[in-house]
Homo-oligomer: 337 residues x 2
Amino acid sequence: MKPSVGIRDVAQHAGVSNATVSNVLNRPDVVAPATRQRVLAAIEQLGFVRNESARQLRAGSSRVIAYVVLDAANPFFTDVARGVEDAARDAGLALFLCNSASDGGREREYLELLHEQRVEGILITPVDAESAQIAERGTPVVLVDREATDGTRCSVAVDDVLGGELAVTHLIENGHTRIAMVGGPLSIQQVRDRREGAVRALTNAGLPAESLTFLETRSLQVAEGRGAGERLVGLPASRRPTAAFCANDLLALGLLQSMTQQGLRVPDDLAVVGYDDIEFAAAAAVPLTSVRQPREQLGRTAAQLLLSENEPDHEHRHVKFQPELVVRASTAVKRRK
Amino acid sequence: MKPSVGIRDVAQHAGVSNATVSNVLNRPDVVAPATRQRVLAAIEQLGFVRNESARQLRAGSSRVIAYVVLDAANPFFTDVARGVEDAARDAGLALFLCNSASDGGREREYLELLHEQRVEGILITPVDAESAQIAERGTPVVLVDREATDGTRCSVAVDDVLGGELAVTHLIENGHTRIAMVGGPLSIQQVRDRREGAVRALTNAGLPAESLTFLETRSLQVAEGRGAGERLVGLPASRRPTAAFCANDLLALGLLQSMTQQGLRVPDDLAVVGYDDIEFAAAAAVPLTSVRQPREQLGRTAAQLLLSENEPDHEHRHVKFQPELVVRASTAVKRRK
DNA sequence: CCTCGATGTTGAAACGTTTTAACGCCTGAG
DNA sequence: CTCAGGCGTTAAAACGTTTCAACATCGAGG
């Protein structure tokens, strides 16, 4: 069933030593063309596949990096992953994606496995602050979309406070004064930062911090956005916000849907701003104003930082990108009729 | 920097032989409790991490399966992956996700790497029919969302002809007779099958096959759906379809957006049916009628089939699931005003 | 007191590569 | 004719585990 043809079978078949076969595989230029041909033919004929475990055991390096992602179903992360993969390919590395699905247990298991596999490096968007304290075990680790609090590793993040400020400032400029923020849970650093930015925008405009109605959700999924929409509409008209800032686009899409179902118009009855600018934001029936993060660049930079880890004079760095507001129909200024 | 503490360092530190350490790791019950404690303490103290390469080299098995996915950014595939991972976890295996991004070259590279890594098995949604002919190299391979034409491997698929038939029959029952199908490229088997189903539905209803306007797209992305929408609206009113069947939900979402932008109402001016029933389909501003595939079950079954591959009396099987129509607002019957 | 089986532990041989230093051969210079 | 140097090839030693047969140790049964 599995004859498991090895390098020495190939060697024997080609009438050379196994060292020569190894050379053909790793330094083709060093072996005479004639011999090389003979060896390649033997490889083809026997269906030989190099055993990466043995190779790695001896050679040390694995040619693989991994990205442990928080939620593989969130388009934001798949876009980041695309950036990671591009950078990895440029460096001749393959990328394995692991999905922790916001589960600390899974995350730990994958980290353990990846360490054991001796991957070249690990990128991770950790489930929570605790799990970010992953013990250093010899494999370089870079935090993605989180800021490393201590100086023990590199991190790549986006300025979420600024993002929140951009979003809410935009709403204020459009004449809104009663604004809601939808997001949660507050255990997520991002949500806290974005809210802080929102409050700062209000303060800058001379508005009281209380004019921000905070609707906390249990997760950042579409369904939660729908729920928030219902809560919003249930508020007494005098206190009901005229605009909502959502902590991510999935929530915003849910909110949007909820509005439409309840017979309210976006942006006329409620302006909506999302966060992440995922592809579906632009594709929504009412295209969503959103705070764009440089997703692919985030991934690409994280990968590059990871690769620089084993340079001799490596210093851990914390890169922070600036977000950018993308204005679309969901916050168009109310038409005077 | 990397002292690389091995099993024998642990052994020495605990005053036992390396065989005992190995036993603690793999058969804890066989070693005396006292010794076990001592060894575990040494492991902890030295920060030992088992070298999986060496383990695998000797032991043969890798405790990992991989899923080579066609497009990691398509929610359909991430849902399938979720099913795969659940099944893998139940079997004590980890899942590595690899993204071929519809690129035959990447796909080949990943397959090569995975073979070399000696993963326990590979699940793959191949880029095209050719690449489905992956040479058997000792690692079990199962096709996902594709039907294996030859009997050399297992496959898990969904009846796409039936799916197309369900979709278009529904439209016909709602009174539509001029129907468009949006999808492509036709090199994708799924698209061909779904079209075949659409035609069959028309035939069953006694309508001519020509009443199906086929709008071919270059990919199954949102942007292509928007483009198709513009082409559709550009048709002379007499020939313009009153309903559209899209080969997947991404196209349908694009089409939907295009309609709204052009001031047409869904479903009043154009009824729309999608395919896959991804989460965003229900969350769209006009909730999308769609053909649901048992995504997670697809993944789960594929994984189970893969695991059964190394049973002694294994026979390659081809599982085919039935799709199901989910009716939502995008095909609500036109209200008589 | 001897034997036996059970229980725990160990030494050494794999596993399939990569790598290093050495080897033989050939060519051209002296 | 000798010798230095280049080139292609090779034997053998790693790499860090797992596994297996063998080995102590001990208590019980004869």
